[in-house]
C-alpha cells in the first residue's frame, strides 16, 4: 500500500513474468528499470510535497526505562521520520502512530538519510559497503522475479528476519492471500527475508468507458485476446484520437502470451549438468513470433491506431501515455492497478468519479488462451543484513506496526475522522492492502472496496482471484551465478517493434537463440544438478496441470510439443 497519495507515483514494478531474466536481478531497459527510475525521482518529490522534512531528523524516544539505544536509518519511504508541520489527515495520523510506536520502544531513534533505494547500482553498493538504510525493496536487488530474489537472498543481500517475523507474528497480520504467496519473501528452506508491503496487479490496461461505449461495449472482458485489442483499438480510433497509447514494450507484452519471451515457457528450457542450467530456443515456434510481430506492426503502421514511439518508455500515471489518456487522445493506456487512485488525482476526479470514467483490465491473452501473467504478486521489503539482532527486531517491529497493524489503523482512522469519507483512505493508501484491512478498518464506517468504486474493485477482485500459474523459481534452488541477461532479447524487440529497416524475423530469432546459447555456455552453475532436476520435474508437472485446466488449447498445441521436444528427452 502507498501511504501518501503523491507516492502513488512511487510504485513497485508490476509482477509480470515472474521468472524474467533468469539469473539476473535486473536487466537493461525493461519496464521495471523505467519504473524504478520513475520511483527514484517521484519519491523525493512526493515526500517533499507532503511536507516531509528530515528536519529534526529523529523520532527520539521520550522517557527512559530499558533504553535500547538503537538507531535506524531510513531513506524516507515507506517508513519515514514524522512529518514536520503535519497537516490534518494522513500526516497527523502517521505522526500519531509513529509516536505511539516510539513510546512502546524507548531508546530507538529513526534518522532520515538521503538515499535512493530504487537505484539498483546504488543500493547494491550500499549493501556491499554497509551504508544501506534499514529497509529497502526486495525487487530492486532481486530483479522483481522469484529466481532473482531468491538468488539475491542466497548471496546474503537480505537479513534473515525469521526470529523477528515470528516474534511479531507478522504472518497473522497479513491478508491470507498475501501470506500464502511467499516466494518473494521466504526462502525454500523456510527462512524469512522480507515482509510483504503491497499487493501489485500484473500490468494491464486502463480504458475510457465512454469511448468503449461508443463501440457498443460496457467493459473489457477478462479473457480478451490481442486480436480483440487490435479490433477494438481500431474502432475507437477517431480523428486525432488513438484507440491505444502504448509504451515501447508492446512486443514484450504480446510475445509472452505465445509463450515466447527471454524466459518464456516455450523459448527457454532446462539442461542440467551442462554448466549453466538453461538454454534458449526461439526457432521451434518462430511462426508464433512472426505472427505476434505482424500483429503489433499492423496496429502501429497499418491501422494507425496506436499512440506510441520507440522512445516512449514511460507508461506510468505521470507519463505522456497517461497524459494522452487523461485528455481523451487515447482510449486505452497501459498501467498497473496501483495507478488508479493517483490517476484520479491527476484528473481532478474523486475516486468514485474515476471509477465512472475508467476501467481496468489485465493484459489480453495469446491466441491460444495463454497468459504469462500472475494474478497479483506481493511487493516485499528486505532489511539491512548488517543490522544486529536487536536492530532487526526493532526494524521489523516498526515496519509491521506502521504498515500492517495498529499504526496503520491509527493512520487511516485519522484520515477518516478528518474527511468522514473512506474513499479518502483509498486516495492516500493504495488499495487493496497487504494487511487484513482491505475490506474494513476498525473505526472506519463502510466498506473499503465500495469506497474504491464498485466496478474497479470488482475488476481487481476478479483479476486477483484468477488461478496462479507455477513459477519456476519456487521449484529450483537459487542460482547465484548470474547467467545471460535479456539484452539480446530486448535488442530484437526494438528492431521488430519499430525498426523501419528491412529485417527477417526468422533470421533474427535464430541469431537471438545463438547469442544466448553462446553466452550460456560460458557460465557455470552453483546449483546441484540432482536438486535442479527434481525441482524441474515438479515444476513442469504442475505447469502441465495448470495449463490443462486454464489454457487447454495452448496446452495441446504448444506445451505438449515443447515438452516432448525439450523436457522429456532430458528428464524422462
Amino acid at each position: 500500500m502507498i501511504l501518501v497519495p503523491e507516492l502513488a507515483g512511487v510504485l513497485q514494478p508490476a509482477p509480470r513474468k515472474e521468472s524474467r531474466c533468469f539469473m539476473s536481478p535486473s536487466t537493461r531497459i525493461n519496464r521495471r528499470q523505467f519504473l524504478n527510475m520513475m520511483a527514484a525521482g517521484a519519491g523525493a518529490l512526493a515526500l517533499s510535497a507532503c511536507g516531509v522534512k528530515a528536519g529534526d531528523g529523529t523520532g527520539t524516544t521520550p522517557g527512559g526505562g530499558a533504553v535500547s539505544n538503537v538507531k535506524l536509518l531510513t531513506a524516507g519511504w515507506p517508513i519515514d521520520v514524522p512529518f514536520a508541520n503535519a497537516t490534518p489527515g494522513f500526516q497527523v495520523g502517521y505522526n500519531k502512530a509513529f509516536q505511539a510506536w516510539l513510546d512502546l520502544n524507548p531508546g530507538v531513534s529513526v534518522e532520515r538519510i538521503e538515499f535512493n533505494v530504487w537505484d539498483t547500482a546504488g543500493l547494491r553498493t550500499a549493501v556491499a559497503g554497509g551504508t544501506a538504510p534499514f529497509h529497502y525493496p526486495i525487487g530492486v536487488l532481486g530483479g522483481w522475479n522469484v529466481p532473482g530474489i531468491q538468488a539475491s537472498n542466497a548471496e546474503g543481500l537480505f537479513a534473515d528476519i525469521t526470529a523477528a517475523f515470528e516474534k511479531h507474528k507478522v504472518l497473522d497480520l497479513l491478508d491470507p492471500k498475501v501470506a500464502a504467496n511467499s516466494s518473494r519473501w521466504k526462502s525454500q528452506d523456510g527462512k524469512i527475508f522480507g515482509i510483504p508491503y503491497e499487493v501489485v496487479s500484473s500490468e494491464g490496461f486502463f480504458y475510457n468507458r465512454e469511448h468503449l461505449a461508443e463501440i457498443g461495449m460496457d467493459s473489457l472482458p477478462l479473457n480478451w485476446k490481442w486480436t480483440d485489442m487490435r479490433e477494438w483499438a481500431l474502432k475507437m480510433t477517431k480523428g486525432d484520437r488513438k484507440g491505444l497509447a502504448m509504451a515501447a514494450y508492446a512486443l514484450d507484452w504480446i510475445l509472452p502470451t505465445y509463450g515466447i519471451d527471454f524466459d518464456g515457457l516455450l523459448s527457454h528450457y532446462p539442461v542440467p549438468g551442462k554448466g549453466f542450467n538453461w538454454r534458449w530456443d526461439f526457432t521451434t515456434f518462430v511462426d508464433d513470433i512472426v505472427e505476434g510481430v505482424e500483429l503489433w506492426r499492423a496496429m502501429n503502421f497499418e491501422d494507425q491506431s496506436v499512440y506510441t514511439d520507440p522512445n516512449f518508455w514511460d507508461y506510468s500515471q505521470n507519463g505522456q501515455l497517461a497524459a494522452a489518456f487523461y485528455d481523451g487522445r487515447a482510449s486505452m493506456t497501459p498501467g498497473i492497478h496501483l495507478f488508479f487512485s493517483d490517476m484520479a488525482g491527476k484528473m481532478n476526479k474523486t475516486i468514485l468519479e474515476a471509477d465512472e470514467f475508467m476501467g481496468f483490465n489485465r493484459q489480453p491473452l495469446g491466441p491460444l488462451g495463454y497468459t504469462y501473467q500472475l494474478p497479483f504478486s506481493n511487493s516485499a521489503w528486505a532489511f539491512n543484513p548488517d543490522l544486529n539482532e536487536e536492530e532487526l527486531d526493532k526494524a521489523v517491529s516498526l515496519f509491521t506496526y506502521m504498515l500492517l497493524s495498529d499504526g496503520f489503523v491509527t493512520t487511516t482512522q485519522e484520515i477518516y475522522n478528518v474527511n468522514k469519507d473512506p474513499s479518502e483512505i483509498i486516495r492516500a493508501i493504495r488499495w487493496p492492502f497487504a494487511n487484513k484491512f482491505s475490506e474494513t478498518i476498525p473505526g472506519v464506517e463502510g466498506s473499503l472496496s465500495a469506497a474504491t468504486g464498485k466496478r474497479f474493485s470488482e475488476a481487481i477482485n476478479t483479476i486477483f482471484s484468477q488461478p496462479k500459474q507455477p513459477e519456476v523459481g519456487e521449484y529450483v534452488p537459487p542460482e547465484v551465478n548470474r547467467g545471460p541477461g535479456d539484452t539480446p532479447w530486448y535488442d530484437k524487440l526494438t528492431r521488430w517493434g519499430y525498426s523501419q529497416d528491412p529485417f527477417d524475423v526468422k533470421a533474427d530469432a535464430a541469431e537471438l537463440e545463438n547469442i544466448l546459447n553462446q553466452q550460456a555456455k560460458t557460465f557455470p552453475s552453483s546449483v546441484d544438478p540432482d536438486a535442479f532436476a527434481a525441482g524441474i520435474n515438479k515444476y513442469y508437472a504442475d505447469m502441465a496441470a495448470y495449463l490443462q485446466a486454464n489454457a487447454p488449447e495452448f496446452y495441446e498445441k504448444r506445451f505438449i510439443p515443447f515438452y516432448d521436444l525439450r523436457i522429456k528427452p532430458e528428464f524422462g
Binding site: 547500482a121 546474503g156 522512445n311 541477461g485 535488442d491 547469442i515 560460458t522
Partner: protein, 304 residues
Amino acid sequence: MSVGTDVIEPRPAVPAVEGGRTRRRWLNWLFVIPAILFQFFWGWYPMVIAIFLSLTNAPIRGAVTFRGIENYVRLASDPLVPMAFRVTLIYGILSIILTFIIPIITAILLMEMPPKTMRVMMILWFLPLSGIASTLFWQYLYNEKFGIFQYIATAVLGLPPQAFLSSERLVLFWLIVPGIIMYGPGLYYIAGLQGIPKSYYEAAEVEGAGFWRKIWTISLPRLRPIISMTLLFSIIGSLQEFTFPDLMTRGGPNGASRTVVMYMFTLLNNGRIGDSTALAVMLFALIMVFVLVFRLVFKSDPDV
C-alpha cells in the same frame, strides 16, 4: 650588477639557499599532496581495484574468489562485446569528425566577423544548457510522428518519412548531431585565436598572405596546443560515451547504439560485477592505446 664590469657579486651564503629551497620544496609538496591524494583515492586506487576485481567472482558480499581470466574469456565469447566496441569506435570517429573539426572551422570563421556578432555567438555557444533537459528536448525533435525534424523532412523538403533514431544504419549519426550544437570546444578555439597577437596577421598581410594562408600558417599552428588537448579529451570522452545514447535510445534499435560503457552498466545491473569490471579494464586498455598513439603522433608545440 651593471653590464660590462668584471665585478662578480658574492653568492648568497649556501645555507640560506638550501633553506629556501627546502622550504620551497615543502611548500610545493604541500600544494601538490591534496591533488595526489585525490588522484590516488579517486583514480589510481579504483583502477587497481577494478583490475583486481576483474580477476575474481566479485561478490557483493562474502568471500572473494580468484578466477584468473575467466571473466575475460567469457567476454571474449560474448557476441555483444565486439558489437559494443564497434558501436563505440564508430561513434567516436563520427563524434570527432562532427563535433571536433566543425567547431574549429566555425571558430576561425567567427574571428573574421564583427566583434558584436562574435560575442553573440560566443554567448549562444556557452549557454548553460542542462544536458538531461536538452537530451529530452532532442528526443521530441526526433520523434517520428510529431517531431519537428519529421515535419521538416516531409512537409518542407517533401521527403518520405524518416526513421531517425529507429534506423539501425543511421542512429549513431543522429545521436551525434546534437553534439555539434551542444558540445562547445569552439569556445576554447576562439579563446586561443584571440590570444594570437594581431601583429602576426598584420605581418603576414604585409607579406601578401591571403585568408587561407593566414589560417594555415598562423591560426592552426598557434591553436595546436588547444587542439591537441581537446582532441585528446574528445577521444577519451567519445570512447566512454554513455549518458546521451542511454537517454535517447537505450542502445536500440537492435543494439545499434549500445556503447561499451552502456553494456558495462547493463552487466553491473545484472549483478555481473566481475564481468563488468573486466569490460571496464578492456576499455581502459583500448583508450590507453589510443592515448599513447596520439601522444606519439601529435605534437602540441606550435613551434615544432
